[in-house]
Amino acid sequence: MTTFIARRLLQLPVVLLALSLLIFGMMQFLTPEQRAATYVRTEQQAKNIDLIIRQYNLDKGFWAQYTTWLNQVLHGNLGYSKQSHEPVLTTIRKRLPVSTELAIFMFFPTLAFGIWMGTLAATHRDKLIDQFVRVFAIAGWSLPTFVLGIWLLAVLYGYFHCCGIGRADDKYLIEFAKGTLKTYTGMITIDGLLNGRPDVTLSGLKHLVMPVLTYMVVASAQIMRVLRSSMLDVLNSDYVRTARAKGLPERVVNLKHARRNAIIPIVTIAGLMFAFMLEGVFFIEIIFNIPGLGQWAVPAAIQLDFPAVIGIALLTGVIVSIANLVVDILYGIIDPRISFQ
């Protein structure tokens, strides 16, 4: 197991290098002047663009350009974003915790809900709950995130005023800006506790209701579907019958014997689910006005602010590669039959 993890960790830089080559290759569609704009901050620099082109080797061959660019990236210089009027890395540092907080709150309830309902549907096959789950799964899968988000925005926020948009109530955000509340992690729910102010955390949670609900309906549908069908397969297998014949309680058979094996396909599609979640975060940030990465990067893409987009692409590459590694390791924990040779 340790050697497997070590080997996968060694593979990581190779994958990232390949990814950086790919992204840099795509940038070759742009002219040197456009690429030089990455490093332009002021009017004065824009006038002397030739200087920048020479400084960053943009008039040289592919490999000279690539190594210069990679060197800059590794030293944290991702360029200057015209959308946020600051260096890309600064913006990412500011917005990443917001998106991370959202993603954590979206991911775990959805996974738990999906697994719970999927199990219930399989153990109560063709009963009312099963029918409900099947209808829910098809309906949820047919609802795009943004459509459900808009509907919830209109009904819950617009009509019932029950849960706010943004990250927290304005008065708390002002306190954060003034410095009376200290920013430790950038995640409101955690910072509230660290400041000893549970009311801030509560406000943050209240503002997470709609985003989490939106994502839960859309994404748990897939989990339910996969878990239901794999659980049905497992429930019909011989060893489950043996477990029942031994006189084990139904609960133990279902949860200990059947579900542990039924969850494996969920881990298999985890990569897909992760990609879907990253997309979901971007959509939800834009609909519910949450100042995370998506709310900055999508308008940046429309405004042709390409340093921002390249920065996001690199960041996504890193996140996705690490997530894949974690999934591979999880695989071994959930299914000890897999050997890491």
Binding site: A139, S142, P144, H161, G271, L278, E279, V309, I312, A313
Partner: protein
Amino acid sequence: MNPQEMKPEREPWYRSKTFKRFRRNPLAIVGTLLLLAFVLVAFMAPAITAPQLASIPAARPCLRDLGIKRSEVMDTLRNPLSPVFWKATLAPPESCYNIPRDGFSPLPKPPSEKHPMGVSGGGYDVMYGLVWGTRTAFYVGFLVVGITLSIGIVVGGLAGFIGGAVDNFIMRVTDVMLSFPRLVFVMIIAVIFGSGLTTVMLAMAVVGWAGYARFFRGDILRTKAQEFVDAARALGASPMRVFAKHVFPNAIGTLLILASMDVGSIVLAASGFSFLGLGAPVGYADWGQMISFARDYILGSALGTPFDYWYVWVYPSLMLVLFGLAWNLLGDAVRDALDPKS
């Protein structure tokens, strides 16, 4: 007896067990009917929107390209005997996909006799956008599925046919493709080539093939392990012949059917990108684009009245959901019918 007659008669598809299972599933019928309704709307788009074309002055580019005057619209576009009807139905000029504007007021107008589903901000007729948007939806869905499927078959076929290191490499690439969010690809391509519907379709085609390649490879490996393939090989058929005559035709059926059911989810995803502003431009007949200002209308109206301009976003979002539902019902039923265990 002549050996030709010994051949077992092939069962026609409509008598097969799979089709019977499909036909007996009520959800499949609902999905099929919904989809037929969409096809009908898409086909009849010029006839349905003839009143809008006739009454809104800004519809001129479309009428000019069709070569008719505003006074002739009602007579020609609803008359199957006129050649203009067929031109508008089968090969409408690109300008007809732009929603005609009735004025430039930023405020939406509620449904009226002239505009049965209201007018959105900027004077765009909602019904026109919905009806022609059906065509956009089918166009985007079929084109993207067609391209991704072709790439997927070639790549997956190579991986399954050659195997070994090539297979390993291709599968690693699909791993990365499958776990990379499509939205980021769309953003990269939008930054390089500018945003637009073509950009979205291009990005989705670049990313989408990975799933098909993986699925097809799996089917090829499964088919390769069957006895009739061994038999063909034992008879001395070359590897190329075994692959082309025996493995390929037997492996591809399921993929083709399942992939064609993906049209719905492709359209939902593409409309999401249009919603964000990366896809179809404002005023283009595309459902996602039509919802893109919904957020402003909901948040911009006084508190407690989020449904002031409901007609602007409720209709297009319903169309989208129904379209997705139709394909998903169909896809689910097909998957059930193909599953031998059910």
